[in-house]
């Protein structure tokens, strides 16, 4: 019953607002492009980037470079040849209005995410690409880009195989080694969906204190080919009983003040798609929570907390929203 009414709310929201944008036909010349890049902004093809919500000035620059042969890659060089400046601009604007690519179904391993997060800050990626990696002006959106494409791009910038429009990427990657490129790609591909990207109807529809057990709710989307296969790819399905057990262990550890152990249990459940676990895992990195819990010897990390709160919100835990807002306030964003 309840699920049915929620579905109606979402449909109504789509009809009211989102549908016209989604129903817009692509410019005629863009249709062939979408067969590889995806009609809804999400590429299903190896090494082909997702272009949904990509910043329009960046797309114009790339098409300009393909057309002039300044960026080399087939079939893009041949396909962009016949297009005038107006075509490039209308294509870029259409792509910018498509929905952003979705996060992968697995939340990713927190240790790797933490490494990637640290690298992204150490090398100032967030200054131009923005803290949520949504890009800005001519600086591209990176959030939830295909991991294979991200890694190939970073390696090509680093080796000089791909010339940037300017030399910024070659310069900032100069001190970054290959293992770090792998971690950065993993992190960027696995960024959680941020609150701004959650359809308005969803977060307001569930102001409940207890998040639903996600493992028994709507079926998980089929694992897509999006996430590059990694040998350690975690299973995203655990039984409700197993999830409860993990949460119980985590809670017990947290009560004892053993935050490190608690994080391990929460992480397993969160990676399996449990909203409560993601919320609690976020809290173990949230400086406000740690302060209130008297865990002052534990190092918080707002960025990691934000990652997991974002994931929790995306999984349906509306309580994550005020916590995200609180983190933003602390940072004065």
């Amino acid at each position: 019953m309840r699920r049915a009414s929620r579905a109606r709310t979402i449909v109504a929201a789509l009809l009211a607002g989102a549908l016209p944008a989604m129903a817009a036909d692509p410019p005629e010349k863009l249709a062939p492009c979408l067969t590889c890049h995806g009609t809804q902004g999400q590429s299903e093809s190896l090494d082909v980037p997702s272009l949904g919500a990509q910043t329009a000035p960046y797309t114009v620059i790339q098409l300009f470079m393909f057309r002039k042969g300044l960026r080399v890659g087939e079939p893009m060089n041949a396909m962009s040849k016949e297009h005038g400046v107006d075509d490039l601009q209308s294509a870029a604007q259409f792509l910018a209005a498509l929905p952003p690519p979705k996060p992968p179904t697995d939340a990713g391993y927190s240790a790797r995410l933490e490494r990637g997060n640290a690298l992204a800050r150490q090398h100032h990626c967030v200054v131009c690409h923005r803290p949520d990696f949504s890009g800005y002006e001519n600086v591209p959106r990176l959030a939830n880009q295909r991991e294979d494409y991200l890694l190939k791009t970073l390696r090509d910038y680093k080796s000089g195989a791909r010339h940037g429009y300017d030399a910024t990427m070659a310069e900032v990657l100069q001190p970054v080694d290959d293992a770090q490129l792998v971690e950065l790609s993993y992190y960027l591909a696995h960024l959680p969906a941020f609150s701004a990207e959650v359809p308005a109807g969803v977060s307001t529809a569930k102001p409940t204190k207890t998040a639903p057990a996600q493992s028994t709710a709507a079926p998980e989307p089929a694992p897509s080919s999006l996430a590059a296969p990694t040998p350690t790819s975690p299973s995203s399905r655990l039984s409700a009983a197993k999830i409860s057990e993990l949460l119980g262990h985590g809670d017990a550890d947290l009560k004892r003040g053993d935050v490190a152990s608690a994080r391990l249990f929460y992480e397993r459940a969160a990676v399996a798609g449990d909203a409560r676990a993601a919320l609690r895992l976020g809290a173990t990195f949230d400086p406000t929570f740690l302060g209130r819990a008297g865990l002052r010897n534990v190092r918080g990390d707002s960025a990691v907390a934000r990652l997991w709160y974002g994931r929790a919100l995306n999984l349906g835990a509306a309580e994550a929203k005020p916590r995200l807002d609180n983190l933003d306030e602390r940072q004065g964003r």
């Binding site: 114009v60 002039k68 100032h124 001519n138 000089g160 940037g164 300017d166 030399a167 310069e171 001190p175």
Partner: protein
């Protein structure tokens, strides 16, 4: 914030936003040149315009007041540096220097430039070049540091000179992160150049520099050990003192990206500008509150040291966004000044004189 790959139409250029001192006027000289960068003017009045992010050198001809923009050569790679000498156009790309003889006779049918020097690295970071001919009839150009901050190989972070046929290479200055503007003092015959300093130390430090090469072959300007003449690098400064290195003669603001610079040797501007240096500050790219996006004028003492630095043209930066970004400065025979803007792909002309009969600008003239 890189300049877009589409030039702004001439009627949309931001002239009305620019502020100049009293009785100075600015007009559009030519537009429609994506990423217009370095400027050179021939004896016949043809203006050559380079690009850095595109592949083209443009020629702007001027016949009986009628101007025409035409691509002279395309298919070049980061052809930022150009120089003119005795009718020959020299072009510095990322990793080679080439020439087109009697270029004025080939404005419509220029052949592929002839390479004269290619003993150059191919690094992208700071790989683009500024090129000029000195009073000694040699070509001067830079090889920037291949990084933001690192100990550069001995082939980098320097200014070299070569003969006009590409022979006789000498390194004339070292310890320079990146140069995108040089000119010679008209009386002292010394090389002055702008230098862009390292990023990510802090938003307000270090400042970019104006340097003078007083001892060719000997001067080391401090990169990567010392910045702005008095700050030891946090990583590489250990074991060095800033006193080992040649100090800048002026500081030009943190991350302000001073590029083109030109001694004013014309007769049109008031006397106070005679032999002063006009410097185009391209503006910062990664600073939270942007700085630069203007032309400043450095007035000098008789010994060539800097007496003052004042704003000359401002207004390219509006509400922390660029409406244009100045790059290079060149002087016309009548003493008026040309200024390139790579954000809009345009060249402006600055004149001095009491206001014209109408207040209208000479757009489209």
């Amino acid at each position: 914030m890189v300049p877009p790959p589409i030039a702004t139409p001439s009627d949309k250029l931001p002239l009305a936003k620019l502020k100049l001192p009293k009785n100075f006027n600015i007009e559009v000289y030519a537009s429609g040149m994506v990423n217009a960068r370095s400027l050179r003017i021939s004896d016949k009045g043809t203006v050559f315009v380079s690009t850095r992010l595109s592949d083209t050198i443009y020629a702007v001809t001027n016949k009986n007041g009628k101007r025409e923009v035409k691509p002279l050569v395309t298919g070049l790679y980061r052809p930022n540096g150009i120089a003119l000498h005795n009718g020959t156009l020299y072009i510095a790309e990322l990793n080679k220097i080439s020439k087109i003889d009697n270029v004025e006779d080939h404005l419509d049918d220029a052949s592929k430039p002839t390479v004269i020097y290619d003993d150059l690295p191919s690094d992208e970071p700071h790989g683009w070049k500024f090129l000029t001919v000195g009073p000694d009839n040699k070509l001067y150009f830079n090889i920037g540091a291949p990084c933001n901050i690192c100990v550069p190989p001995p082939t980098h972070a320097q200014i070299r000179r070569i003969n006009l046929d590409g022979s006789g290479m000498q390194v004339v200055a070292r310890g320079i992160r990146q140069v995108v503007g040089m000119d010679w003092h008209p009386l002292l015959n010394q090389l002055y150049f702008t230098e862009n300093q390292r990023d990510w130390l802090s938003e307000d430090l270090p400042q970019d520099k104006l340097n003078r090469l007083a001892h060719p072959g000997q001067d080391n300007f401090g990169f990567p050990y010392c910045h702005q003449g008095d700050i030891a690098d946090q990583q590489f400064g250990w074991g060095h003192s800033c006193d080992e290195f040649t100090k800048p003669i002026a500081l030009l603001g943190p991350h302000s990206a001073p590029l083109g610079m030109r001694f004013y040797t014309g007769q049109m501007f008031p006397k106070e500008y005679r032999n002063a240096i006009f410097i185009a500050r391209h503006g910062s790219w990664n600073k939270s509150k942007k700085i630069g996006g203007d032309i400043v004028v450095a007035k000098l003492n008789p010994d060539g040291t800097v007496k003052s630095i004042e704003p000359f043209i401002t207004g390219f930066l509006e509400n922390n966004n660029y409406v244009g970004r100045p790059v290079d400065i060149e002087l016309m025979k009548d003493g008026s000044m040309l200024l390139s803007d790579d954000w809009n792909g345009a060249v402006y002309r600055i004149t001095y004189g009491p206001p014209r009969v109408s207040m209208g600008r000479w757009v489209g003239h």
